[in-house]
């Protein structure tokens, strides 16, 4: 992907850029809001990583102007104001995702991948398939290699989110936001326990595990 990073702190910007380049993206760095807006309008980027507080022009202001021109490029907001409150304000201003500083690079990369490849037609499918796994979205049932697997509604939503983003790493906080629909900070490993219960049910009598753990980051469902 071609990604624009608007961030005035050079070290954070370099760090982010290196992480994204290592994952195979093209990155351009801009260190103030005005230039950021000009670049964003001049060229069609696949994604913009935008700092909340910027010299020349505030991040939210930039976002508002950009959205005002009808530009729908996915925007990931980075902010040192890490409150639920701030988060809501950021998303309302037109941001697509919000990450409070400090963040783990792996978290940022995972979110960028999911955000950048959001497929618009995905929601119309009635069945999701991934390897020998099949998810019936209408009947809320899961089969693996033709065998029906009993899982709870919550586990179904975890699995659905992972499979929709198959091939991309999904972090714990992403799961929390999308599966539980509450913005909060559990500060515990409870998400892991939900996933491990789901995994036990899916992998019973199978050698190959559907959900893989990415150490220190989250989970991934492999496509192959």
């Amino acid at each position: 992907m071609h990604i624009l990073v608007v961030e005035d702190d050079k070290r954070v910007a370099d760090h982010v850029a290196r992480g994204l380049r290592e994952s195979g993206h093209m990155v351009e760095i801009v260190d103030d809001g005005r230039t950021g807006l000009l670049r964003a309008v001049a060229e069609q980027f696949d994604l913009i990583v935008l700092d909340r507080m910027l010299p020349e022009m505030d991040g939210l202001k930039l976002l508002a102007v950009l959205r005002g021109t009808g530009d729908a490029t996915p925007v990931m907001i980075l902010s040192a104001l890490g409150d639920v409150d701030e988060r809501i304000r950021g998303l309302k201003a037109g941001g697509d995702d919000y990450l409070p500083k400090p963040f783990a690079l792996s978290e940022l990369v995972a979110r960028v991948e999911v955000l950048g490849r959001r497929a618009p037609t995905l929601s119309e499918a009635t069945e999701l398939c991934c390897g020998d796994l099949a998810i019936d979205l209408l009947g809320h049932s899961v089969t693996r290699a033709g065998r029906k697997i009993d899982i709870t509604q919550r586990e179904f939503r975890i699995l659905e989110y992972l499979v929709r983003n198959a091939g991309r790493v999904v972090t714990r906080s992403m799961l929390l936001e999308h599966v539980w629909d509450y913005s909060f900070d559990p500060q515990t490993n409870i998400i892991d326990q939900h996933v491990s219960r789901l995994r036990q049910k899916l992998d019973r009598d199978f050698e190959h595990s559907v959900i893989e753990t990415v150490r220190g980051t989250g989970y991934v469902v492999r496509t192959g």
Binding site: R11, V84, P102, S183, Q187, T188, R215
Partner: protein, 463 residues
């Protein structure tokens, strides 16, 4: 009525009415003394003297001489006009120009009506009469007309009552109206103060421009609120910039550590420990900031009507695997259809903190029960466990920041501080109890207890 009596302006009006009635009484009293009492007393003295002279005459020269004197007295065209009646010891009326008198009276002084018809006109006379009895049984009534005074007296009695009654009535009505008018303006002040206390710092008292004392008070209050809001705002700005200034180096630290560890989650031991420590720093920092923001009211709570039963089910569902991993039973008694005006994210986090604590401190095998029910005074959420409880001396300190009753357990000591801040924001009460065989947290959210901030609810949605 007690509320009315306790109203200052009504009490003022009452005392004003009392003062008014008092001065009226003084006025009437003075008039009575000068215009009524004095002429009556003077007449009494005069009649008394006459009776004394007549008695002397009767005793010395007998009844014929008395009658002659009385008749002569009646003929004199003296003012005030004179009246008399003489009844001898046999009960016969010997001489009288009084038309009538009572056959028997205990009082010495009598008012007797003695109207006279002259040339077809009735002239009103009221005789102030001394009823005298001689030792031999004869009776002598002697009096003088005091019709003018008598009429004054009657008039004063009736008009005085009407005037005083009217004054009391007017005083009360004016007092009520005054206390209503003043009360309304004071209520406006109190309403504003309450709204501000609920966290809406932008509210101000309306100033109607009349320039009266209440307007001055309102202006002073508004100026005070401006000052307070300014200082709140500067505290917020400071904490925002502290947040920013601390987070950025923390972000760099984390970035450097990740780079040092080679990235990709494959960090070596010490680096990984340092990363975990950085994460812990951020967690403490976030938690402290969030609590202060809730407490200073700068975190604008998104108060909406929330399906509390579903929310409680969600929290329990979230912690179910944790309970199973610890071989604890997590059960729920949640009344269906519970609904509450609250901030759902804050409430979820607060109840999650309570469950987290209960699961952390309860040894296996044990049980944790989350319950929600609607009581008479409000909705009660409670978390009960079969753990060892908390030492009694620690109970009042549980909600202090960084307080941990059991230092061996890891944790930030901020969980319950967060719960308490959230409870305060929702104007609810939270209490901690050591029960037989367990620890219980009870959270009472009163009906209509949440601060209502319609301006914020409409344009804010939780995500």
């Amino acid at each position: 009525m007690p509320r009315l009596l306790s109203s200052l302006s009504f009490r003022l009006a009452l005392s004003y009415a009392g003062l008014f009635v008092g001065s009226l009484l003084l006025l009437f009293g003075g008039y009575y003394l000068v215009a009524i009492r004095q002429p009556i007393e003077a007449t009494k003295v005069r009649v008394q003297r006459e009776v004394e002279a007549l008695t002397a005459l009767y005793e010395r020269r007998g009844s014929a001489a008395l009658v002659a004197r009385l008749q002569r007295r009646a003929r004199l065209a003296e003012t005030p006009k004179t009246f008399h009646a003489f009844i001898n010891q046999g009960g016969r009326v010997v001489s009288a120009n009084l038309p009538s008198w009572p056959a028997w009276s205990e009082r010495r002084w009598l008012w007797l009506e003695a109207d006279i018809f002259a040339d077809g006109n009735e002239i009103d006379f009221d005789s102030l009469t001394l009823d005298h009895r001689f030792p031999d049984g004869a009776r002598l009534l002697v009096g003088r007309d005091l019709n003018v005074v008598r009429e004054r007296q009657l008039m004063m009695l009736s008009s005085g009552l009407a005037v005083i009654g009217g004054a009391v009535a007017i005083g009360l009505i004016v007092g009520l109206l005054m206390s209503r008018a003043i009360g309304r303006r004071i209520d406006r002040l109190a309403d504003t103060a309450r709204t501000v206390m609920a966290g809406d710092m932008a509210t101000r008292v309306s100033v109607d421009g009349s320039g009266d004392e209440f307007d001055h008070l309102a202006q002073t209050l508004n100026a005070m609120l401006d000052r307070i809001e300014d200082s709140f705002e500067s505290v917020r700005r400071v904490s925002d910039s502290v947040a920013h200034e601390l987070r950025t180096p923390l972000a760099r630290l984390q970035a450097n550590l990740e780079d040092a560890g080679g990235g990709d989650g494959a960090q070596i031991g010490p680096v990984q420990d340092a990363l975990a420590e950085a994460d812990r720093l951020r967690a403490i920092f976030d938690a402290v900031m969030r609590i202060s923001r809730i407490e200073t009211g700068s975190l604008q709570a998104a108060m909406v009507e929330v399906d509390l039963s579903a929310l409680l089910d969600d929290v329990a569902d979230f912690y179910q695997p944790e309970a199973e991993a610890k071989r604890l039973v997590l059960s729920t008694f949640i009344q269906s259809g519970l609904s509450l005006r609250c901030d759902r994210n804050l409430l979820f986090q607060a109840i999650a903190n309570l469950l987290d604590n209960a699961l952390k401190y309860t040894p296996a095998p044990g049980e944790v029960v989350l319950s929600g029910r609607s009581g008479r005074s409000g909705t009660v959420i409670s978390v009960q466990d079969t753990g060892p409880g908390v030492p009694a001396e620690a109970l009042p300190r549980l909600t202090e920041r960084f307080y941990r009753s059991d230092k061996r357990q890891e944790g930030l000591g901020l969980g319950l501080a967060f719960v308490a801040a959230t409870a305060r924001l929702h104007r609810s009460e939270i209490s901690f109890h050591n029960d037989d065989g367990g620890f219980r947290v009870e959270w009472l959210l009163r009906h209509g207890g949440g601060p209502s901030r319609p301006g914020l609810t409409e344009n804010r949605k939780t995500n």
